[in-house]
């Protein structure tokens, strides 16, 4: 895996300056974009495209705090994400309940539920960030997997709210 922090040229941290991220990204784009690097052979053109794609994809990853956290976990321990995939049954039961209530919740109370789930997701993120900072990578990875259920529930919830408008 390419290291998006390296591609953009930022210190590998959970908290980054969005402004600095954007400034660096735009400067790199100006340098490497195919518009200014036409390339002479088709192999050269492919290499230019791949470099430009790498910059775009790294930026996209770093813009999203969750994907940024996942990238950091992989940088610290490449196998951590795969190794922590199996979650404990108690958590899965809880996650299932959240998922069901998101499906069945009365429409007029959805905004209230949304606030609850957002708070839960934020809480997860703070914990994941703490574990990464303290170099507790496996713990961070496990919580990242768990947060997936809440993030998915939040997305479903928002879809439901959109379709009700």
């Amino acid at each position: 895996m390419t290291n998006p922090f390296e591609v953009i040229g930022l210190d590998p941290r959970v908290q980054i300056s969005e402004e600095e991220l954007e400034t660096r990204y735009l400067a790199l784009s100006r340098e490497h974009h195919p518009d200014f690097n036409p390339g002479t052979s088709s192999a050269e053109q492919v290499a230019i495209l791949q470099k430009s794609a790498e910059i775009n994809d790294a930026y996209r990853t770093l813009c999203d705090p969750w994907r940024r956290a996942e990238a950091l976990i992989r940088i610290h321990e490449a196998a951590a994400i795969e190794a922590t995939k199996t979650l404990c049954p108690m958590f899965l039961l809880e996650a299932m309940e959240v998922h069901e209530s998101a499906q069945e919740y009365p429409t007029d109370k959805l905004p209230a539920l949304e606030r609850l789930v957002v708070a839960k997701v934020d809480e997860y993120f703070a914990e994941v960030a703490d574990h990464i900072e303290s170099n507790e990578i496996r713990e961070a990875a496990t919580l990242l997997h768990q947060s997936n259920y809440y993030r998915k529930a939040l997305a479903d919830l928002r879809n439901r709210m959109d379709s009700k408008q």
């Binding site: 784009s29 100006r30 974009h33 518009d35 495209l49 791949q50 794609a53």
Partner: protein
């Protein structure tokens, strides 16, 4: 001075707005983008091609002038067919006056005199016309171009546009999204940093793009749209209204000729244009003994008819904003592009949605072409002060087990973008693997558009599951997919070939190129003279036919007949181009109202049972 001051082929990159209804070209000069005009000072090249009985093409105004006379031969709105296949072709077929059918691999083919033409070939003729018009205006040869397409064009439609350029003998440096081009025309002066929503409603397509402009960098955050929604749809609704009135008046619609149907199409467009500035628009149809039938459409009526379409465009705007993670309040400006944004309902609904009045300083017909010229200038000069970062409009995925799509590239990812996936074999010594690629947002293959099958060939023979083929899906800056494959176990990098199987094959493009070189074009002046003669002949013939059908007052008939005779004699004598041009203009002016009159005559004849014409 020597020739050194003259523009050379390498210098100029032309920006082309290849539209559904109209096309035009522009170049970037010292004082900014400049639209190129023909000898009449008109920048518009109608996107219309007439295929004559001898197989030659009339393009632009000459073709548009023949649309009434030769409806089966006059190809309009071909952009709606580009890159289209299967059921989409059948759906389009119902609304066109010319014949199309599914050709090889279900791809759309235009049929004239039993001969098939690909939409790419027709588009290439339009591009050639734009090119020669630009060359005449610039007194320089053009080889390289930037062509705009709707942001919501998919991979196949973009590829087809590139093929059309190649067939026209042009090197396409960039396929540029229309709303992005318009944003360049809007914000290149550097005073408009911030977020903008570009709303682009053209003749046949609708796009909305959300952009952030900062320090000369135009980054698209999201895009949404519909490649089959535009002013054409408004015309069709008004055309239906005219037919309803005729039916109610007792006209047998079955007897209407394609000629009359074309005339109705034009009158419908005329009504639409009137309704942009007037509260009511009327069309008078003379029914002879049955009296006169006046068709009046109030703007309220018209707005009610088109509301579902306008609502869809507003829904697209909401979706684009959601995808961008922005709210309408965060937009610093709303920019209108495309001729159909002149419709008052479009403006009022958008103003209501945005909570502010849209920016209307840009010419909605020229902005896209001007933006294309700016990007063309950037590519020609390598000037890094302006940079476009665009996105892929639709997610890309591959078919997995059970007909489910595994998404590889998400919509609104900034391009270029790339993803690498690993593939293997299922049978011992298998040397080829098919990868089916789909574009769309749904999860099942039947709900998405298949872009085609890529075949990986030349995999080294090995036990099943052992080869490790890394396949990179790379979307380039044109939004076109490129697939690169590499077998990793043997390191046989070059041995795996990727064979695409959609659109025109490379072989087909090559053959068409050879054909077109064999029918090499004459020099510019000669070509223009031929175009003019063709146009003049068409008008002479068309007017004579129309005079037979219509009942104009004698004095008007006389002056038209006299103008026809004069032009006909000039043509017979092989007169100077300038004289023919002048006589043609004179006649066009006199016959401007004949189209409406033709409807009246045809209706009357159908009422009185007179079928002769």
């Amino acid at each position: 001075m020597t020739d050194a001051s003259k523009d050379t082929v390498e210098d100029i990159v032309l920006g082309i707005d290849l539209g559904t209804t109209n096309s035009l070209a522009a170049v970037l000069g010292k004082d900014g983008p400049r639209v190129l005009r023909d000898r009449d000072g008109d920048p518009i090249v109608p996107s219309v091609v007439t295929i004559m009985a001898d197989g030659t093409f009339l393009v632009g105004k000459a073709a548009r002038d023949r649309a009434l006379e030769l409806p089966e031969r006059t190809i309009y709105s071909v952009k709606r067919l580009v890159g289209r296949a299967g059921e989409e072709v059948d759906a389009e077929s119902k609304r066109l006056a010319y014949t199309i059918r599914q050709g090889d691999r279900g791809l759309a083919r235009v049929v004239v005199d039993g001969k098939e033409y690909s939409p790419e070939e027709i588009s290439a003729e339009i591009l050639k016309k734009v090119k020669t018009t630009a060359e005449a205006a610039l007194s320089a040869e053009i080889r390289r171009v930037v062509i705009t397409v709707p942001a919501y064009f998919d991979d196949a439609q973009r590829q087809a546009t590139r093929d059309a350029a190649q067939l026209a003998g042009l090197e396409s440096l960039r396929i540029l999204n229309e709303p992005t081009a318009a944003s360049l025309a809007y914000g290149v002066d550097g005073s408009k940093d911030g977020h903008v929503l570009v709303y682009d409603l053209g003749g046949g397509t609708f796009d909305v793009s959300i952009l952030k402009i900062k320090d000369g960098i135009f980054s698209v955050k999201s895009t949404a749209g519909n490649t089959h929604l535009g002013g054409d749809d408004f015309d069709n609704l008004l055309g239906e209204r005219i037919l309803d009135v005729l039916r109610a008046a007792g006209t047998n619609l079955e007897t209407l000729t394609p000629y009359v149907r074309q005339a109705i199409r034009r009158s419908a467009e005329g009504l639409k244009i009137q309704l942009s500035s007037a509260e009511k628009a009327s069309l008078e149809i003379d029914l002879g003994t049955a009296g006169t039938q006046k068709i009046t459409v109030a703007r309220d009526d018209f707005e009610e008819m088109i509301t579902p379409f306008v609502t869809e465009t507003i829904d697209c705007c909401a979706r684009a904003l959601r995808d961008a993670g922005l709210t309408v309040e965060q937009m610093d400006d709303v920019v209108l592009v495309g001729g159909s944004t002149r419709v008052p309902l479009v403006r009022s609904r958008l103003a209501e949605f945005a909570g502010c009045d849209p920016h209307t300083q840009l010419d909605p017909d020229l902005a896209v072409g001007m933006g294309a010229a700016i990007q063309a200038g950037v590519l020609a000069s390598g000037d890094r002060s302006v940079l476009l970062l665009d996105v892929v409009p639709l997610s890309l995925g591959i078919e997995t087990m059970g007909g489910v799509i595994s998404k590889l590239i998400m919509r609104n990812a900034t391009i270029p973008t790339a993803v690498t996936e690993e593939f293997s074999t299922q049978v011992e010594n298998q040397t080829a693997v098919d990868i089916n690629i789909y574009q769309g947002e749904r999860e099942k293959i039947e709900d998405c558009r298949m872009l085609g099958a890529f075949k990986l060939r030349g995999i080294p023979p090995m036990p099943a599951g052992l080869p490790r083929i890394a396949v990179t899906f790379l979307v380039d800056a044109d939004g076109v997919l490129k697939v690169i494959a590499k077998e990793q176990r043997t390191g046989a990098e070059s041995s795996v070939q990727v064979v695409p199987s959609f659109g025109l094959s490379r072989e087909e493009v090559r053959q068409m190129m050879i054909d077109s070189i064999e029918n090499a074009e004459e020099d510019m002046a000669a070509r223009e003279a031929i175009d003019l003669r063709n146009k003049a002949e068409a008008i002479v013939k068309g007017t004579r036919k129309a005079l037979q059908l219509s009942d104009l007052p004698p004095d008007q008939t006389f002056s038209i007949k006299r103008a026809v005779k004069k032009l006909d004699e000039l043509l017979e004598d092989g007169a100077e181009t300038a004289d023919i041009h002048e006589a043609t203009e004179e006649l066009s002016r006199l016959t401007a109202q004949v189209a409406d009159d033709v409807i009246s005559s045809a209706v009357r004849k159908s009422l009185t049972g007179d079928q002769g014409s």
